[in-house]
């Protein structure tokens, strides 16, 4: 049953994404692209782009997007409920423990060693997105590479690192630049 599958997949995303924001990304990729094949890597890249441009957590955005594509609005509700359900329980429990003991040293110890792993996982997902930008679903060969995409990526990375430009502005400029260059070259 597809609703149950959606619910359980996003339950895993909600339960194991620790650290917020991009931490959910590698899990969503592993469930939705690798695990169930609900989205291609290209669609997943589009999804992350859309999620970044719209308000709300990536996990909730992804649950809605994937849910609707697979099983319509009920699918979206099942997936979204799946991804917030573990939070509701775990956060309530932690809050209870916190108000009772006001001490989180063990939790902080676990989090401290989780952080480098989560950073590494985000890096892994980031590099597979970079590959998707560079060659799409093709093999990693020089003749398949979208060089303009690489140049835009490098320029965007530079202005983000060096001058701390607003991420959404940088993304919009990349989109406009790509469209503009193709229009000028007449290759639309």
């Amino acid at each position: 049953m597809v609703y149950l599958k959606l619910f359980l997949s996003f339950l895993k995303v909600g339960m194991f994404s620790i650290g917020g924001g991009y931490a959910a990304m590698p899990l969503i990729q592993s469930e939705v692209v690798t695990g169930h094949g609900w989205l291609s890597m290209g669609e997943f890249t589009d999804l992350i782009t859309i999620a970044e441009m719209t308000p709300g957590p990536i996990a909730v955005n992804s649950a809605t997007f994937v849910g609707i594509r697979i099983a319509g609005v009920p699918g979206a509700i099942a997936a979204t409920f799946g991804c917030i359900f573990p939070s509701c329980i775990i956060v309530s429990l932690l809050a209870f423990v916190y108000y009772k003991y006001k001490n989180m040293s063990v939790l902080q110890g676990i989090l401290q060693s989780l952080r480098p792993a989560v950073v590494a996982l985000i890096a892994g997902a980031g590099f597979s997105l970079l590959r998707s930008v560079a060659v799409g679903e093709e093999a990693l060969l020089p003749e398949n590479v979208n060089w303009l995409g690489i140049v835009l990526f490098a320029a965007a990375f530079f202005v983000l690192r060096k001058w701390k430009w607003n991420p959404i502005l940088v993304m919009l400029l990349c989109g406009i630049a790509n469209l503009g260059i193709h229009v000028i070259l007449g290759s639309v």
Partner: protein, 205 residues
Amino acid sequence: MEDSRMEDGRMEGSRKGKALVQLFLSTLYISAFTFGGGFVIITFMKRKFVDELHWIDENEMLDLAALAQSSPGAIAVNAAILVGWRVAGFGGMVTAVMGTVLPPMLILTLISFFYQAFAANPYVALLLKGMQSGVVAVILDVVWGLGGKVVKERSLFLCVVMAAAFAATAVFQVNVILIILSAAVLGVLRALWLRRKKEGDRWFT
């Protein structure tokens, strides 16, 4: 919210109803207009619930923020759960979560319905394709910052965990959940080992 501390029990219900409506509208508004993820949303919540409505005091909000960030799931949803519980118990939690989740659900529902037509349009496709380069840069910029912070802690353990996790996911395609669980187990063992080293023989007593 001094004026809401009601002595009159019969008034309590309608006051609570009003608080729930206000909680719903506040979280709905914050969620609909906050771009940039969990940390940003916590700042907005602080401004609304601490500075404006005085429902929560500042120190407690800091603790709630720490809890929201250390729990699994989206930070915005976690913060809504905590603030909701704090303000109006279980009903408050449900209300705050609904307020937080509805705007992204509605927006993504609209986008999903138009996505096929959208992505088929050559101009939109080129725009999206260019934006993909940007989003990868944004993500790797965040990774660069976070990874740098880990390295700066000058802990061999943390660096090894990071390198091993990266190799596991990028080279060996190990399941993501397995990597997270392994890192958590290592964290527990390390915390126990450090405590034992510090406390010596007192550990078991």
